[in-house]
């Protein structure tokens, strides 16, 4: 039987027959927990498996990224619970200095094409960016994977998305992402594995792939898989210190659904407050006064994203009433910003630069919005109340930068 990408990846990690709708026992190459959910995972493990809670410490990690460093005692306590558990069992912790776990596992060569990796971050399906199966799960699920290295999983049906057209400046992967989300809505991928094809997809850098894959969750999808090209295979192989062979779909694989997305004539987009799929052209909300601008998150927290923002902000200052924040995804990205003089540039432009992490999406170190505050952000979720009491628009780094300068929503 010809197989889709997800079917092929799952088949290499189970002894069960892989067929959409079937429940299989799936072997997991890597299991992780972040600071949100991590202490709950430890609690389950110590209650359920006090003798022998971790199957393989070398494949098990903590990644602290939500509240880094902890700014309340309860969060600090929870991180310390994870650290002490990790010490007792020989588990490596990517601590509060390291940045967003889903990016760290790519940088560290733990997530490679075709692998299976789970954790307590609902955006772990971002690993579809390297053609890997990543999946966010709850704390009971993850505790069970720490103990056994496996989980039950229902093989999802697959959707093939074919993108027609190219992404030319000032458009970027975020606009593509929002275009797809606006077209298919919050349940367009519900319970499915999505695969992306087309010239615009093949041309995406790793950072662009991360941006696209990161919002599978907002489409309801289990994962958004992007077939790895040479650049991705080479990057992951280098990071892992071994040759990696991308897993791709068979040509005659069967899909439950085909979706065509035409991005010819696409213009910069934003998602309006309340729903990531409430997508309109940035120009249509031009002039909406903003109070704050956020650059970062697992969706747009790579060097390339900040380079785009910097190219627009360079030599200028954000509008005097705008609070602008930069949060690099990882320590490695932070180092790149430092090395290329971008930190200084952001400083000169009047931007607050934070240590790496999730930032605003999780009551993190960079603060939240207040009632009446209007924020434009490169992040991925603007559900009411999530990033504070204010209203959040989602947009690309270019659109956020142009808006920060103008003090109101602007199209780059």
């Amino acid at each position: 039987m010809p197989q889709t990408m997800i079917e092929k990846i799952l088949a290499r990690h189970t002894g069960d027959e892989v067929e959409p709708g079937r429940v299989i026992w799936l072997d997991l190459d890597v299991r992780t927990a972040r600071d949100f959910g991590g202490a709950n995972v430890v609690k389950h493990l110590e209650r359920e498996y006090p003798e022998d809670p971790v199957a393989d410490p070398a494949r098990t990690f903590f990644t602290f990224d939500c509240v880094v460093p902890a700014n309340t005692i309860p969060y600090a306590n929870n991180q310390q619970i994870c650290r002490e558990f990790a010490r007792r069992h020989g588990i490596r912790v990517f601590d509060v200095d390291m940045g967003i776990g889903s990016h760290v596992v790519i940088e560290q060569g733990l997530a490679v094409p075709g692998c299976t990796l789970v954790g307590t971050d609902s955006h772990l399906n971002i690993l579809g960016a390297v053609g890997a199966f990543g999946q966010g799960m709850g704390d009971q699920d993850i505790a069970f994977t720490f103990k056994t290295g496996k989980t039950w999983f229902e093989v999802p049906r697959s959707i093939r998305v074919r993108v027609k057209g190219r992404l030319d400046e000032p458009l970027s992967a975020k606009d593509l992402n929002l275009a797809i989300l606006g077209q298919i809505g919050s349940t367009g991928g519900l319970g499915h594995s999505m695969e992306f094809y087309g010239e615009a997809i093949e041309g995406l850098s790793l950072a662009g792939r991360i941006t696209l894959a990161s919002m599978a969750t907002e489409m309801g999808a289990v994962v958004a898989l992007i077939p790895p090209g040479e650049e991705v295979a080479e990057y992951c192989g280098k990071r892992a210190g071994r040759r990696v062979e991308p897993v791709v779909a068979d040509e005659d694989a069967e899909y439950a659904e085909e979706i065509d997305v035409d991005i010819r004539g696409l213009r910069p987009l934003v998602a309006r407050p309340g729903a990531p799929h409430d997508v309109v052209e940035a120009a249509s909300v031009k002039g909406v006064r903003i109070d704050s601008a956020f650059f970062g998150s697992c969706t747009n927290g790579r060097l390339e994203d900040f380079e785009v923002a910097a190219s627009i902000l360079e030599g200028r200052r954000v509008a005097p009433h705008v609070m602008a924040k930069v949060v690099p995804a990882t320590r490695e990205v932070y180092g790149q910003l430092l090395g290329r003089g971008l930190l200084e540039m952001f400083y000169d432009a009047g931007v607050i630069v934070s240590n790496p992490g999730c930032g605003g999406c999780a009551s993190g170190q960079i603060g939240m919005t207040g009632r009446g505050e209007v924020q434009i952000s490169t992040s991925n979720r603007n559900f009411r109340g999530k990033q504070g009491a204010g209203d959040t628009y989602l947009a690309s780094p270019a659109t956020v930068a142009a808006s920060a300068l103008a003090g109101e929503i602007a199209s780059p």
């Binding site: 429940v23 959910g37 609902s122 709850g138 069970f144 056994t148 969750t217 309801g220 559900f383 009411r384």
Partner: protein, 179 residues
Amino acid sequence: MAKPTNIQGRIWVVRDPEGRPVDDIDTDMIYHNAHLAITDVAQMGRYAFGNLEGWQDFPSKAEPGDILIAGRNFGCGSSRQQAVDCFVSLGVSLLVAESFGAIYRRNAINSGFPILVCPGILHESAGGLASGEVLKVDLKTGELRKDGAAVARAQGFSDVQMGIYQADGLFNFARRHNL
């Protein structure tokens, strides 16, 4: 001892203050990230629906055994187990929605918390369903009955869902299967 596969309870139909069905209720509306430092399930109930407009007083009104009826993509968003556990904490006996966020669905199943997928239950059937009414639900067949008459049919429990439910959670289920 086998757990009941028929559940009877008073229903809460999740609508907005204007009486419209609400879809895409995300995990921050169900259980806001401000309360994530809590790890004791007993403490979670008081924050259920704490960020859902018009539903902030749900924890004080809900009684053990109550049933929730919700719309599409319920529990989308984060992976947080607390968004399931807060209902367990309140003693909610069953959650029926048109569809669930993928992670939410797993979390509920792994907790042994009964959920049923019932397309149309809020947008179509709920014309005839009102908060406070009593429903009788068969978890195996998915049949929902009011006053003895069938009002809707959800997808019944899958095998793995029933196994985990009967074992009262993933950990016991795995032990029964020597995992």
